[in-house]
Each structure stands twice: as structure tokens, then as C-alpha cells.
Symmetry: C2
Subunit: 382 residues, 2 copies
């Protein structure tokens, strides 16, 4: 269902020949209205790809007519020529669709290499001709890079729907580290309300997926509202639906992380503040030694404590508790329950840290570190 | 030569049976004076092992009679009982040597497990009986954990000597991530002068080795001065010698990093400030994607830019230059010289980043990320 689950949208995905493999590599998502309200969140990396710079500009007024997306090339670190290419993609899309030039551009693939613009522009024309209200799946497939599966999600409220697609292999992938997400809804929601719902949802979902600590130059999350349902949703219910779709897609990214053998949920509770909980969670999620240990099915709580100790969060080292898959292996900062009680044979791992310093909490999702990760990311040349 | 290169010191290393393998695991370094001046730098991890807490207390007044070190157990995250064990090691050493209880304690090995104190105390007695002015090598050998070689260095000035030993496998090792360093000198230097020379040397050497971003609970660097040469050295010359020995030992740690196939020097120049240069250097050195790429001999400058972009350092993304092994593969934030000109077949790699925002610079040393690293750190159970 993807981006065409909500009424008022058409989409398509085609093989433009950007990828040598001939796999689908160009997608369009068009908002047929009546509303063109939109919101966007971009990577906080200060090195930003040309399509991010372009899309940030074009979404500034809270309206989008369409989105053009390509895999097979990130158009990042490509200088002024790359800026021209991103603009040309938007212009070509607007012309092919006979819409205003409010077209966002999303690219993913190799960094530092220009796109084959002749193929891209021909592909845009083909994709425009193939637009369909059933094209959501095709679009989701065309934005895959190292993703093993395409990723879509849908949620509904009374009379309205939120749907979406995502690409990204848990941010474990190489120059392909990019996460691209397009959400659509037929609810009648103003741009400022879209913006607030999207930002809050991203903050506690995509922003808390930290597969390998590496941040892309191209990450983009877009939310387009057609208003085609004619329903103005309850703000809380709408925010919940957007959050639900984002969480669903985020967990699909983690589940599809390249080279990973475990999905790890790091839950930090008892923190003095939410920022403290997030900082501690990230520090644990980024600790290579711990990620290797969990890969080896070793409930190595000492590495959890080491990671916590590098943060400036509020805690007393002698009062930290750590549970791994429900077994409290560390109590008061020292050995607790016997570690051989921990069953790490499954794919899902939960590490729970109680800082015993307050009531705030946060969850970070990550993966283990494997030889396959190293192989994928060293064999790949970008 | 190690810690007994300087006059006034004796050392020993013995097999106390802490390690199941029977390899040497306990070392003593004794300052026979006439001076007992000393300085110390400890891990900034807020989760600190019991021996670190003890040694911090005992070195507070700038004097040390001796150091007792063990491998085979870190005595970290061991609660109040571990504190008692660290103190007992110091007391036993003082008694065996008939010295004041100004004895620093350094431990390395598994986290969260108590030391076999009966073996440790018996080992201290044996080590005390075997003290020798030629014992520096034995001591350096006894503090090895996953180190493939023991590490020593020496520098000299007019009439005085600085020598030292280190253990640590580039901080790439697992619960064994600890770096322990003991430096000795026969120069006649006051405790405050030792402290200032040591802090400055550590700041630009050991603190800039960032093999895997993981920081130990046990890291300790000690500098003991016997004054046995009777020479008061020129402060600048002495500081330079201490820096030289620290740099030599730090590079030996990088060269011996577990599972690594490359030694990577990240040089950041043209920074607006030294902290900016260090921040950018660390961000690059900790980027798993880049470390995989360099392992695969791929001069992936896009990943360098991605890493720089996550920092708050002063730079213009469109004015960054990156050279890899001397080839400027990125100029003005976009593709520069052809990447196939870069020869990455050797073990040594230099990544030079010019931020073109000022005159400050810094160097960070790291390693590549390899399947062997993952294997070592997932197979090992701590």
C-alpha cells in the first residue's frame, strides 16, 4: 500500500539505468490534492547532499506537489554541478507532471559521483507516464539500495489514512547509509500541524535508530497531505498514527541492517532527564566492544558500564543496574544474577539500564557488530 | 630497559597464577630514591575500577614508593569487596618491601570478577623477592594481556634518563581494553613539575590514540622520579623526553592493535582551534564505515566528509580538502584527484584533512575495522 494507501496520491517506480544492475532506481510520488500541505525533516549532518539542500529550500513554505527519488547515486559532495543536477531533476519532474516546481528531490547511493543525468531525466518521463494509484509498492522497490526487502507501513484513523515507504539498511550500509522516508496522508491537516506531528514522531523513532553511529549526508523524511478524505483529524490521534508508521518503518530498518545478526533494544530508565537517557542509550548502542560481545552471545555487562561511564549523564557508578534479556546481571554497579542465565541465542536482544537517578527514559535501537558488517563495508567501493 | 633504565629503580615480573595460562601476571616497580616524587593520570571514564580509585587517592600528595600491577583481572565493577582487594594489594606490597603505604595499584583483565587474592598476595611476596635493577623487561612482560609483544621505550638527557613500559593492544581489546603505563626517571624533578610534564605529554599522545572509541575503566599512566642522577634537568628538555617516551609507547599500542591490519594517522590541519582539530580527528577515527573502507583499501573520502559533518567544528563544507596517502582525492568538498592514484596496500595510512578555517592542527591515531577485530571481541568472554 505504501505511499498510495492514502487517497489523493499516485506513485511509480521504474528502471532508469542509473544502477548498472538494471534494477528499479527511480520513483515518483505525486500529491493530487486538493491540499498540498507538507512537512520535512532532514539530516543534521553539516555535509549535506545537493538534493537535501534543494529539498530544504523547496519545502520551506510547507507545500509540495511531488517527490522524485532515485537510488544508484547520492549526488552528495558533487559541488555546484551536483546542485544543478538536483534542480534539474525537480524541474524535469514538474514539467512532466504539469505541476508547480514544488518538487522535493531525494537521492541515495554513491557519494562523490555525479548522476547520469540523461538517464535520470528519461527515467523521470517514464515514471510520470506510469503513475498509478496502485504504484506505492513499485515506488518503495525503486528506492532500495542494499535493502534486502522494501519497507512500507500504514495506519488509519476515522476516515483517514497515513501510509509510507522507507529505504535504508539500518544505517549499516556504506556510502549507501542513507535513510529516505516518504509518508502520505489523505487527512486534511495544515502544514504547521504536519510539521509538529512529523518532528515529534521522528525524534523518538528514526532519530533513535543508531545502527552504527554513522550519519548520512542524504537522510530525508517527508510527509505530504492531500486532504482528499475531507476529514480534519483529531490532532492527538493523527500524531499517534504518524508516530506509529514511523516506528514501524524504523524497526524495519533495524531488522534489515546489513550484516547484522541481532536487533538490540537499549532501554534506559531511571534517568534524571530524557536527554540523559538518550545520551546513555546512544553511548551503549555505539560501543563496538559491546556490539561484538552481543554478537558472540556474551552478556558482557562490564562493557555496558564502561560505555555509560563515558557520558556526563547523572548517575552513581555504584547504583547502576543492568538487565540483559530480563536477567539482572549487574546490580549496584557490580555482578548480579549469574550471567549464564541470560539466553542470547535469539535475534532480539534487550539491554535495560536503570540509572536510578530519576523518572525519565528513552529507547535506542541498534544492531550487533559482525564480520559480515565489516565485509559488506570494506568490499564495497563508493 | 623499560622502567629500570633510569637509576634508582628495581622491578620484577612473576607468574602468580592469576591467569589460567600460567603466563607472567604480576609486576612490581620500586623507587629506591632518594626522591619519591610522582605524578599520575587516570581514565576519565566515570566508571572507575577499584585500583584506579585507590591509586588516585594515594598519588594525591605527589609521592609514590612503589607500584604493583597485575594482569588477568581488572578488579573493576567489583563493589566494596574489590575496593578492599585493591587496598590489600597495596598494603601487602608495602609490607613485603618495607616501604610506606604509598603504593599505586594497577589491574587489567576481566571486568566484574574479583581477583584470586590468595594468589595475588603470594605473588607479591615472590615478586618482592625477585626485584632487580635489570627487572624492567620482566615487569613489562608480566602486564601483557592480549598484547602480542611487550612495550618499552627510553629517552635520555644530559645525565638523566626517562624509561617506561606500557600494556594495551591499541584499546582494541575487549574487557582487556585497559592501557597501563609506568614511566620512571632518575632526574631530580619535583612532583608539580612531573605532573605538568606528564599531563602535557599524555594529552597529545595517549589521549589521541583512539583505536575503537572505547574507554577503559582502568587506564592509568604513572611517572616516578628517583632523583638518583642528582641532576635537575632543563624543564623543556625533560618535558620533551617524557613526551618522546609517551609517543613511542602510544604508537606501539596502535601498531599492536588486536585484529587490525592498518595503522591510520588522521591529521587535521587548517582548523580554527586545536579542540576543533581534535573533535574532527576523533569523529573520523571513530567512523566505522571509513575504518571498514580503509581495511578494504578503498580511499573513501565521502565517508571522511560524512564524519566531519557530524561535528560542530568551524568549516565550510564546500571548502574541505582531503588527502589519503598524499593524494588529494577531495578538493573543495567534491571529487579531486583520481582515487585510483591512492596506494593503500601498505600497513600505514595517513588521512589529512584541511578544514581551511585557521592555523590549528591535531593528529589522532587509530586502526582499521576488521573481521578479526569482531572475532577477537565476540569470541572473548569477560
Amino acid at each position: 500500500m505504501s505511499v498510495t494507501a492514502a487517497r489523493g496520491f499516485a506513485a511509480s517506480g521504474v528502471s532508469a539505468g542509473i544502477k548498472d544492475s538494471g534494477a528499479p532506481d527511480l520513483a515518483l510520488v505525486v500529491n493530487r490534492g486538493p491540499s498540498d500541505a507538507a512537512a520535512a525533516v532532514f539530516t543534521s549532518n553539516r555535509v549535506q547532499a545537493a538534493p537535501v539542500r534543494w529539498s530544504r529550500r523547496v519545502t520551506g513554505d510547507g507545500a509540495l506537489a511531488a517527490v522524485v527519488l532515485n537510488s544508484g547515486g547520492a549526488n552528495a559532495c558533487t559541488g555546484p554541478a551536483g546542485e544543478d543536477d538536483a534542480r534539474a531533476m525537480a524541474e524535469r519532474t514538474a514539467r512532466a507532471l504539469c505541476v508547480a516546481e514544488q518538487v522535493a528531490v531525494c537521492s541515495t547511493g554513491l557519494i562523490g559521483v555525479r548522476l547520469p543525468m540523461d538517464r535520470v531525466t528519461a527515467g523521470i518521463d517514464t515514471a510520470a507516464a506510469e503513475l498509478s494509484e496502485d504504484g506505492g509498492e513499485s515506488a518503495a522497490i525503486a528506492i532500495k539500495t542494499t535493502d534486502s526487502v522494501h519497507k512500507t507501513a500504514v495506519a488509519s484513523g476515522p476516515g483517514w489514512t497515513v501510509g509510507g515507504m522507507a529505504k535504508g539498511a539500518g544505517m549499516l550500509a556504506p556510502g549507501l547509509a542513507t535513510m529516505l522516508v516518504v509518508l502520505t496522508t489523505d487527512a486534511d491537516v495544515s502544514a504547521p500541524a504536519l510539521d509538529s506531528a512529523l518532528r515529534e514522531a521522528v525524534r523518538t523513532t528514526f532519530d533513535r535508530v543508531d545502527s552504527d553511529g554513522c550519519m548520512s549526508t542524504n537522510d530525508t523524511v517527508l510527509l505530504l497531505a492531500s486532504g482528499a478524505s475531507g476529514v480534519r483529524p483529531d490532532p492527538a490521534g493523527f500524531a499517534e498514527a504518524v508516530h506509529g508508521v514511523c516506528l514501524d518503518l524504523a524497526l524495519r530498518l533495524v531488522a534489515d541492517a546489513e550484516g547484522a545478526s541481532k536487533e538490540i533494544e537499549v532501554r534506559v530508565v531511571g534517568a534524571a532527564s530524557e536527554p540523559d537517557a538518550v545520551t546513555v542509550g546512544r553511548s551503549i548502542a555505539r560501543n563496538n566492544l559491546l556490539k561484538c560481545a552481543l554478537h558472540g552471545e556474551d552478556p558482557n555487562w562490564g562493557r555496558v558500564l564502561s560505555a555509560i561511564g563515558t557520558t556526563s549523564a547523572v548517575f552513581d557508578p555504584d547504583r547502576i543496574d543492568v538487565s540483559i534479556n530480563g536477567v539482572r546481571v549487574c546490580r549496584d554497579g557490580a555482578a548480579g544474577e549469574p550471567r549464564d542465565k541470560v539466553d542470547l541465542s535469539g535475534r532480539e536482544v534487550t539491554v535495560t539500564v536503570d540509572l536510578r537517578s530519576g523518572d525519565a527514559s528513552a529507547t535506542i535501537w541498534t544492531n550487533d557488530l559482525t564480520a559480515a558488517y565489516v565485509h559488506e563495508n570494506s568490499a564495497y567501493s563508493s
